[in-house]
Structures are given as C-alpha cells and as structure tokens.
Symmetry: C2
Subunit: 414 residues, 2 copies
C-alpha cells in the first residue's frame, strides 16, 4: 500500500521550523508495510490544503497528515478533509464532554473555540490524545479510486508520537500484507569504501538487502528484510547480521538507535570502571555527550575544560611536554589524558586538543585533532586532520574520542 505525508502549517512552509515529524513518520512506514512516494508541506490555507489532500487521494492509499488540529482559526485540517470528501462536520457529544473534562481537570477556563476539537465527519473516528486537547482523526472512505484512508494527527511531536505508536501504527499494520524490517550496524574508524569492500559478498543479496551509508558517527551497514511479519523478517536478517559482524569484527560498535556514549557507558558500568576528561578544543562537548546518558554519574568522575596552556599545566600537564611539542600535539593530548585520570582518580583519562576554528594554531591547520586515552600505564592516541567547520569538527572529535575509549576498553578485556 502506498502512503503519502502532508505536513500542515505556515511556520513549516516558511522554514521557521524544520519538519521533523515527517521524517519521523517516514522512517516508521516500512516496518508497518507501507511504501512512501511523496511528502508535502502546505500552509494554513483552506483551499490549498483541500487541493493537496485531493491530489494525495488520487495517487496514494493512505494519507497521513500532521498539524492544523488546534483550536484557532488557522487550524483547518479537519475542515479541509471534510471539504475534500464532501462531508459535513458535527460536534460529537462524547468528545465534547471529554474535552471539557480535560480543561476542568487542569483548572483552565474552557474557551468556546475549543469545541471544534470535538468535531467529526461521518467517515472519521477519533484517535485518543491523552497528551493534549486535540484528538486525531482516522478516516476510512470508499472512493472511485479504491479504499482510501486519511489519518490526521497533532503537530506537537510528543502528542503525535504517542498517537502514532498506540493508535495509528497498529491499525495500519492490520491492513498490510508485508513489512520491511531494518537492522543497522554502526561502525567507526573504517572508511566507507573499505566497509563496502569487506561486505561485498553480502551486497548482492536482495532479501535481505544490505546497504552502506556514511554518517556523522561512522559508516552504517543497513540490513533490510521483507516478510509477512516482523518475526519472519528478523529471521531473515539474523544470519546476514551474524556474517556481517564476523567480517567487520570490532569495527561494529553498536546497532539501531544506540549511541557511542551509551555503548561506552555500558562497558564502563559492567566493568565497574570510571573515566575522566580533559578537553581543550571540544570545550566540554565530550563530557556533555558522556553525561547525556542517564546514570552516567556512576562512571563519569568529572572533566576539565582547559582552554589555556597555563590551566593545563595547573591541572598537572607537564610543562616540558607542551614546550617541546606544542599544545596541539599527541604528546600533550597524552599528558592531558594522564593528568585527568590521576587528578580525578579515574581508571581512564581522555585528553583532546586540536584546532576546531577557522584559523591555524601553532602552524597546525584547522581540523587538526589529537586525542589520547590513558589507562594508567600508557597513552593510546589518534591524530587526524579533517575540517568541516567548528561545530562539525567538535562533534567528530567527540565521536572519535568515544571510539578510541571503546577500543582501549576492548583491548583491556572485560
């Protein structure tokens, strides 16, 4: 079955908000067996929304809309669906009662304009929205082109996510005969071309299919399988995943939604070990990433952001090393790692120094990064130069630091 997405809202159209809802939904359609060929954004204008819906109904079985369900005059998704289908809206008494109760429970006055959120058309049923005031619509309509479905959900992401997972996805899944399930293996420190070469025996397969994609946290290998249901698809994926993991070995650091910071955190927690950081060019972004993980206080001992040579020295970095090799050097990164580990009494210290801005420092070009991990006996380090602007440079240095820490932990054994 073919699905199509329509995001309603002038703010989205004008680029004042990036439309993350559409990407979120699109990425979930394959696993419930829906194909997608079109996405569109339309402003808060009745005629144009109606026109966009009619166009979608002419070419897609399922039209999924977000936004335009609120109480204001600008919110006209319901009106547009009613007009596109030639149906009359009416106030549903049960929905109105529930809506008034929702406001009363929060001690908020009920403005009469809210009544429009209790409206339906004959071919629509309401989708519960316990996180907000606007229920969704699930419309089923037999038309000349065939059976058509329109799903309308709120634009507020938290409300939409819940409605999708609990109300919409299960109902749509019942209507489809085949699902596409994907499994993503995430790698680091190996080039896209090399991964492609290593996995070439698997790339010709069509079900499951295997694709290679370069991302900010490394190269991803995506295995996708089509089958009658999720279990069968996962059974097709399992042997291919096993082969891929055998080929790629330790280059694979995680799967699906896992992050490097969570993977490294889990390893430290399992071993009862700790880490501490001393950052220069990343300015605290590394410690911020490590502490983005719930429970990270169990293994993160603390961090220093030492932007100046003097502060590095005050924190225990050997002045002679800086004098001899410069601040932007793997030797200084190693000293920073050693000092962080010692001063903060951690099992591992991470040191990061480099040039993330647009000007050279000590004659080192922008994008030069030195990272070191100290385990108490020695420092392991990585050096690279890759300049894509300050923000990307910082993020890449953080990912590389976490990957190097993982490699050190693996080498140490559990």
């Amino acid at each position: 079955m073919k699905a199509e997405l329509i995001s309603v809202g002038t703010e989205l159209l004008l680029g004042e908000i990036v439309d993350t809802n559409a990407s979120w939904i699109a990425s979930r359609l394959p696993r419930i067996g829906l194909d997608i060929y079109h996405k569109s954004v339309v402003g808060d204008n009745l005629e144009r929304v109606v026109d966009t819906i009619e166009r979608a109904l002419s070419r897609s079985d399922v039209v999924i809309m977000t936004g335009g369900l609120g109480p204001t005059e600008d919110d006209l998704t319901r009106e547009a669906i009613a007009e596109a289908l030639g149906e009359e809206m009416f106030v549903d008494p049960d929905m109105e009662r529930a809506l008034r109760a929702f406001f009363a429970a929060r001690g908020v006055d009920f403005a009469e304009s809210n009544v429009k959120q209790a409206k339906l058309i004959p071919s629509a049923s309401a989708l519960a929205n316990p996180r907000g005031t606007a229920p969704g619509w699930f419309v089923e309509k037999n038309r000349a082109e065939g059976d058509r479905y329109i799903i309308a959900m709120p634009g507020v992401p938290a409300e939409m996510y819940r409605m999708w997972e609990n109300e919409v996805a299960p109902r749509l899944r019942e209507m489809t005969s085949e699902v596409l399930i994907t499994r993503v293996l995430k790698t680091a420190a190996v080039s896209e071309a090399k991964i492609d070469e290593m996995l070439s025996p698997l790339l010709k397969s069509t079900n499951p299919s295997v694709g290679i994609y370069a991302k900010i946290d490394g190269v991803h290998a995506r295995i996708g399988a089509k089958a009658a249901n999720e279990e069968e698809a996962r059974a097709l994926i399992a042997p291919v995943e096993e082969k891929a993991r055998r080929i790629l070995g330790a280059a694979v650091w995680g799967a699906d939604d896992e992050t490097l910071e969570a993977v490294v955190g889990k390893m430290l927690r399992e071993r009862g070990q700790t880490v501490a950081t001393m950052e220069s060019c990343t300015g605290g972004l590394l410690s911020s990433a490590i502490t983005d993980v719930d429970g990270s206080s169990d293994y993160f001992k603390g961090g220093y952001v030492a932007y100046t040579a003097e502060l590095k020295i005050a924190l225990g970095v050997n002045r002679a090393i800086i004098d001899e090799h410069g601040v932007i050097s793997s030797e200084t990164a190693g000293e920073m790692a050693r000092a962080a580990r010692e001063v903060l009494s951690a099992d591992y210290g991470v040191g990061v120094t480099g040039v993330v801005g647009s000007d050279s420092v000590e004659g080192k070009p922008p994008g030069t990064i030195h990272i070191a991990i100290h385990d108490g006996e020695r420092a392991e380090s990585i050096t690279y130069t890759y300049n894509q602007g300050r923000v990307v440079n910082k993020r890449r240095a953080v990912n590389t630091s976490l990957f190097l820490l993982r490699r050190t932990l693996l080498a140490a054994g559990s």
Copy 2:
C-alpha cells in the same frame, strides 16, 4: 510571484536525512520578494519527479529544486525537467571541458558517467558550482500558464548555499517588485504572554507587522516590512524596532542570527573580563556553548564538570554548604560559581546544579535547576523547575546561565 520547493531524493523521502535545504531556502524567499505556498519531497523516480514538476508549473511561477544533479543513475533531476518541458538534453562542450579540468586539478580519474553533469536543455543556462562537480540549471520558459522558471541546485548544503547566494537569489530578485524584510528581537526571562501584552500597541500594525514567537532561546518579537526594496523596508522597520526596544528594555539580548553565547562573549571581550564555569547537571554543555564562539579563548578561563559532591569539594566548594542545603540548591550553585571564579582566576564564575534526568535527586523533581553567577563580591542566582526531557533540560539550563551572566554584566555597567 509564487515560488514552490521540490526536494529530490529517496533518502529525504524515507526520513533518513532531515531536509534542511528546504527550510533554509524557504526562510530566504521573502527577502527576495517571493511567496511560497508548497514544498514537496519526491524520491529518485523519473515518472514521479516529472509529475511533481508538472504539478508545480501549473500553480507556481518559480520552481526551486534541490538534489538529483550528481553523476549516478539515481540522479535524474535534469532528465525530469527535460521531460516535463518536452526538450532534448545535449552536452555543452564548454561545460564538459570545465568538468574535466575540475577532476584533473584534483588528480581524480574522470569516470565517463560524469559527462551527464555537463548537459543542458535549450531553455536552461548553467549555474556555476565552484564547490562541487554538478553545475545548477536556471530554466526560463514561456508556457500557456505564463512565464515559468525552474532552478535546479545540488543537494549538498555547502554547494547549494553558495549557488543560491551568488547565482540564484540576485537573478530572482531582479524579477520581483516587492521584498519582505524581517528583523527579529530576541528576549529572555519574560513570558510569551507578557511580551505580547507589552508589545500590544505595536501588534495591530500591518506594515511593518509584529509577531511574537516562543523559541528554545526565549521569546522572539519579529518585525516584518514589505517595500519596493530592502532599504525602504528597513526604513519602515527602524522606528518600530526602536519602540519595541524601548518597551522591552534589557529583556532584549540580541537580534536576527545572534546567539546568547556570542552576545555574552562580545560583552566580556569589550570589557577585557573573563569567565569560568563549574557545571554539574549540564555536564560541560555550558562550556561547550561558550567555546562555540570563535576567539572565546580570549575570555574563557576554563571549566570544571563536577558531577560528584566529592569533586565539587575538592575543587573548593564548601562542604558545610552541601551538607546543609544539599547538592541541588542555589547555595551550592553559588559556592560552585565562587570556587570556579577563584580557582580559575576569572572575573565571573558560573555554577550550575540540578536534575536533568528522569529521576528525582535528593527529593528534588526532574527539571529542577539552580544557576548562580559570582562576581567576587556576591552570587546572583536563578532557580526554576521545568521538565522537558534530559536534552532540552540541559539546553535550557545553558541558555538561562548565559542570560543570567548577561544580566550580571549589564548590572555591573561597562
């Protein structure tokens, strides 16, 4: 004139990449006098791209496309435009020569598939792309519906940005009679409702118009003016901006693309003063934000990420204060600010402590944040509770810290 955006690419359609190009272009259309009513995303499928272009030509004067200009078989934006307009493509000898020279200069072998990037149709002229291999197309065509323009640009953001600014925007600007220029005033620490009330005398005006929007870095007041050219529009905005600034006073911390970290950095630099941080719950995100600004090493003395009570005490926080008030308290935040300032010899110290995760700490609910600034004599602090999940909680605490630092700097005078 009406413009419409089409993003081409299966990865965009499937939600694997969020389409930031469309938002970027959309936000720049008003200032060159173009209205936008539709945005769409279509996969790498010739028939559907042709269909989407035909639809756009039927309702918009200017069709702006991104993506699908590369050398692979999947790249078919040129083919689709040619088919939609019923024109034949040909290889332009000058373009082919330039393309071969581009590869030669980089010492890269020229694959023959690249020749398609040197193709044109009779109604297209090429748009230079010095940052990549694929030139853009600027198509002018007189059709039954009227004069129509199709602009095709690469999907790689850095290539597209340059092509838009240097080649496309100036040409489109010449075709329009009126521009819409906006000026955004950014405020913090005042509610949306309060800003709305304060600016109510200005909200009825239509040219310039004034709108109020809540954003992650505070409430924005947007002044928009239409005029024959940018200068006239700015002349309309100036007196309204002056009135708004008089009404809002110190709540306005910046305008347009300015960030709080850049504004605070500029104030410190102008005064020759410095700042140091001690963070707990924000885990280094505050120091990372401060050091996102080029040249921040001039005024940022360094930072500590002290996740544990022991480390806070080791760094100079008074143990008695923690014992008496708990780690999650404004008193401890004040001590952290004082200690950071003293240990790092800065003019100002910032301390942040709170609960960003989903579990209560010391009986304090998630979203509880205490921030303090110490200036050497006393600590100024802010406390609030607002829980929107770990990542947003951290970002909000960072913004509030920077706003409080700005307020302290303002109170101190320049």
